[in-house]
Symmetry: C2
Subunit: 642 residues, 2 copies
């Protein structure tokens, strides 16, 4: 690691998003998503699956009170991932990680309050925080599953249950809320829980680590806000302990395995010896983010090398063109290299959010444009696609090809929904999206002592130590950005040159390094960029079997797709004419192509099929599925000259 190249995300309070496109999305989150999720967490959405999340906290408070009063409290088994309607009334309900939905909502509220202070929202959050804090045990433990069902069993199944995961989300919310409001209540709770973990885990304590990672990066955040090094040490311990032999999960479950099953948890070998992204994709990118944090803060080059290897593996072998990861629904997991089926894709929204977290950390360690490029793919495509325009319906899974009959009739595709859903019992994605979008600016801009890095061209006003910056961007629609800098001292602006860009123009002198254009700034200065946006055909490596003979259409950061509402059914019978121009018109791309006339006979002596010329209409991927249930595809066959 070259520390001279380190940068730090610009604090959110120093950023005001002014971008028209993004402001509108953020307003949807503020006006619709956050209030909607508040109701969802309180089980007030008719027709939606019950969350039970707030109810669990209330039960935990009551149980703690009863126990304090010496009342006898029933014990329930903690033996499943999900506790549904048939669970005893007094017991925990929902998924084992249900608490985290509350924390993610609180984190989103915190960021939203920074962007737009709203006393009523603060009051709502404040009430929830009081409830959360009241559910904490005296020793600092805070997870309603075990508090309600059986506190004697805490930390006995780190592999499957999610206490340390919930701790992680609690801590992220706590740090955010403290930074947003200086209100310490949730932070104090997180600190008390973290202190308990420091007592329980470590060289002289339990040698375990989270089954679902996120505590690692959360502990680093807690270290950042408190300065207490023991939290960083615990994060490092969790990472270094992971995957060592004998396997902790073997010991915990009194089994003896070869560790292959722990690939799911990225615990089959030590993280620093991992070279491939494997297992549950969200867990993976959360771990890799924590590894990058710890590598940087602990100056651990070995760990950083692992991060770089894993990054390259993801981005060169396991990344959908839409910035999605996780090619299989079985285990919501990475598949093997180059296995990127379009129709069976999992590509969970949360995984693309986690990939952006990882990208942001890697870019802050070493400003290379490949990190921002991948985050851009995820941001403008999978992440944006996951929410309806109103912010009340969501995709959890983001496939690149959808055939409604397959989703309805083929159990292999039961995870693929042809339209966005209202809410999910397992609702990790919508609140994750809310907390991500409300803090978008911190992923876009970072600073070193003298340099402001613009990783994403989101229009914003930014305060830095060396002056104010105004970014005026119509990047996604015409590839143009202008940056006005009022520098208080000589400094530097680093502008990511997008990977898709072939010809660009920056109207001031610059030098290019690792895909960033560096511009020296002094005093007042306006820099205009034109990244030469135009529709383009993107091919995929022949090693990806699903895409042989096909291509995708893109425009700037956005990948396009075809829907049957525009193009008729059987999109697989369309072919793009690779020699014809693609025409961009008002947010759509029209491509010349052909439609093959299918034969009815199932098998027949080969003759080339008849084709008819057609215009193929494509729309941005993120807007698909907004006109009712219909077929969609990102990849389209490419016709050679006929």
């Amino acid at each position: 690691m070259d520390k001279s190249r380190f940068s730090y995300p610009v604090p959110q309070k120093n950023i005001r998003i002014t971008d028209r496109f993004w402001s509108e999305r953020l307003e949807v989150v503020r006006r619709n998503v956050i209030p909607y999720q508040y109701q969802a967490l309180h089980d007030n959405i008719p027709g939606a699956e019950k969350s039970y999340a707030i109810e669990n906290f209330k039960k935990a408070v009551a149980v703690l009170r009863d126990r304090a009063l010496g009342k006898s409290v029933p014990v329930y088994p903690t033996d499943k991932w999900y506790y549904g309607q048939d669970a005893p009334e007094g017991a925990f309900h929902g998924w084992v990680f249900q608490d985290s939905d509350v924390y993610k909502w609180l984190e989103a509220v915190a960021y939203s309050l920074i962007n737009h202070y709203d006393p009523q929202l603060f009051a709502q959050a404040s009430e929830v925080i009081d409830l959360v804090c009241s559910a904490q045990m005296d020793n600092g433990y805070l997870d309603t599953l075990y508090i309600i069902n059986d506190p004697s069993q805490v930390f006995t199944n780190l592999r499957d249950f999610h206490e340390l995961y919930c701790f992680g989300h609690l801590t992220e919310a706590a740090v955010a809320f403290f930074e947003a409001t200086q209100d310490r209540r949730l932070l104090d709770s997180a600190v008390r829980f973290a202190d308990l973990l420091c007592r329980v885990f470590g060289d002289n304590g339990k040698k375990g680590y989270p089954g679902h990672e996120i505590a690692e990066l959360a502990l680093v955040k807690l270290y950042g806000v408190t300065g207490a090094k023991k939290y960083l040490d615990l994060a490092e311990f969790f990472i270094c302990q992971r995957g060592t032999k004998p396997y902790y999960y073997d010991t915990e479950h009194n089994t003896k395995t070869d560790g292959e099953g722990y690939r799911y948890n990225q615990a089959h070998c030590q993280p620093r010896h991992q070279y491939e992204a494997v297992g549950h994709a969200v867990r993976g990118v959360y771990l890799y983010s924590g590894m990058a944090d710890v590598a940087r803060l602990c100056d651990d080059d070995g760990l950083y090398s692992a991060c770089r290897r894993i990054w390259d593996n993801i981005c060169n072998r396991k990344l959908y063109i839409t910035g999605g990861i996780g090619a299989t629904a079985d285990g919501e997991a990475f598949s093997y290299d180059y296995d990127l089926p379009n129709d069976l894709a999992y590509s969970e929204t949360c995984a693309s959010i986690g990939l952006s977290m990882f990208a942001c950390r890697m870019a802050c360690i070493s400003p290379e444009s490949k990190y921002g490029d991948v985050m851009e793919r995820a941001l403008y495509n999978t992440i944006l696609a996951s929410m309806s325009s109103e912010g009340t319906e969501f995709f959890y899974v983001n496939p690149l090809e959808v055939l409604p009959i397959a989703s309805h009739c083929d159990s292999r595709k039961r995870h693929v929904k042809p339209v966005r859903q209202k809410w999910f019992g397992c609702a990790c994605c919508p609140p994750n999206l809310a907390r991500f979008l409300t803090s978008l600016g911190t992923y876009c801009f970072s600073c070193s002592e003298n340099t402001l890095y613009i990783h994403q061209y989101v229009g914003a006003e930014i305060d830095t130590d060396f002056g104010n910056v105004n970014i005026d961007s119509t990047y996604a629609s015409d590839g143009k950005v202008s940056v006005t800098f009022s520098a208080s001292r000589p400094c530097e602006l680093a502008l990511r040159i997008p990977g898709w860009c072939r010809d660009f123009c920056i109207d001031v002198p610059y030098t290019v390094r690792d895909g960033y254009a560096y511009v020296a700034v002094d005093g007042d200065m306006t820099i205009s960029m034109d990244f030469g946006i135009r529709p383009r055909l993107v091919a995929c490596s022949g090693k990806v079997r699903a895409n042989v003979g096909k291509a995708a259409v893109a425009y700037g950061p956005m990948i396009y797709c075809a829907e049957s509402v525009d193009n008729g059914e059987d999109l697989h019978l369309l072919s793009l004419d690779a020699t014809a121009d693609l025409r961009y018109c008002d947010g759509r791309i029209i491509a010349k192509g052909f439609r093959t006339e299918p034969r009815e006979d199932l098998y027949y002596d080969y003759i080339p099929c008849d084709t008819v010329p057609v215009d193929i209409t494509m729309i941005p991927y993120y807007t698909w599925g907004n006109r009712g249930e219909n077929e969609m595809t990102v990849y389209i066959s490419v016709a050679k000259k006929l």
Copy 2:
């Protein structure tokens, strides 16, 4: 139904297979498969999964003896489909249908004894039959699962457990053994069990029907050999009762469903109202075979119409080019119309055997060549492929595209094995294959009063009521067949003109009807046919998404495939040149084509890939997987002129 067109399979004892190709396969079954399976059923194969089948019969005998002696016998729950090593020692072990493996073996032995009497084999079978008969209860009941575990629970879960399925296989074996040897022991057992069923089920008894069909067609066989109409009536009852409301399986399980879940069992509506092949494919084709039998014998035109509709649905929408059916591993089931993925295919061996049973019955009702064509697909491709040349290794699943890394790493393809396996705990396919191949002739030839139908050109000597016939065939290798007829009176020979055949030559006068060439025969006569075999490219309807832009190569009845051992890895990068000739050479086909050079970059601005000309080597599908683990594909991209 036009009864004047009915024909009846030629009895096996009137057929002697002389075909060089098929005799060799039959010898493998006789010399290797049958003895190997005898050892497998007795758990004597080191390294193979235990069968427990014979052990269960021995346990049942002991339990019956103990009960007769008034000893207390423990009761075990009957609540699972599989009872493994952890089941109590005294309890039933294996799959709920484990008994049927013994019956299928006995059936194969019976046919084998007809073909080639072997006193030692008879003695082995005789001992097994004694064991089976000793395990029968006084009331005729015979299923070791319930006899061992809990006789009070018989017939309480027709939906999930397989008593009536085991009855069906017992009966098929019993009829075969009686016909082969005139030995009545097993037939008497089957009759006693059938008589029990006649007492238990019916308008005045239980209104249930088999969860896994086969009893229907077995009862028809029992009717055929005994002449007792009550067995035909019970077969008809099972078929007519199936899918009526209220659903029997709802009543049995004290639930109330909309019946959608019973599509798995083809019990969502009455068979005569079914128009689509749905659910578990093997169950389906066994039911449809029984329906065809009952339709014919009971003169039920409505039921026959359903058979025709379902046949057309399978063959026009749900049939792999290899004669495989069952496109999804989930439920080993038919998928929706035109969903025929190559790599995820289930295409169970047993399903293609069952499809041949259905085809044979339909052809005997109405001699239309489409039935024989489909049986030919199944026989020369999926069914043949399922067994290794030595007869000791088997495929259960028969995909059209295999990538070993996917089978090893991708849980969605865990059912796809890249090489044949020794034996399966769920070993339905190998013994089914044995009984099918040993009785092959009865599927190939049928007679009406004056006509001998040759549905499949398997070389054989056949005795008919109107004279002896000698078929000399090199059909699969050069498309030539000659038939020598010594007719004792004027009669007719009906020769199926294969669907793949474009130009044929028959050296005597003939008329063609429904795809059969009819030749009038009187006295001694030799008829020579040449079906003009040559390699050909076969296309698949554009409605099948998996095969867009691809074609398969075939030669006569055989579908060919490419393996990476001949063509290098990444078979998906090969393209056939549709304009170049295919060259047949010594059992292989060499095709001119191209190999695309894949780019390493996962995504890049589209440019057509470089290609290099290559010769693509293809081998018959049935021979794949005999040279170690490697990639295989049936469908190959077709290059348009570049």
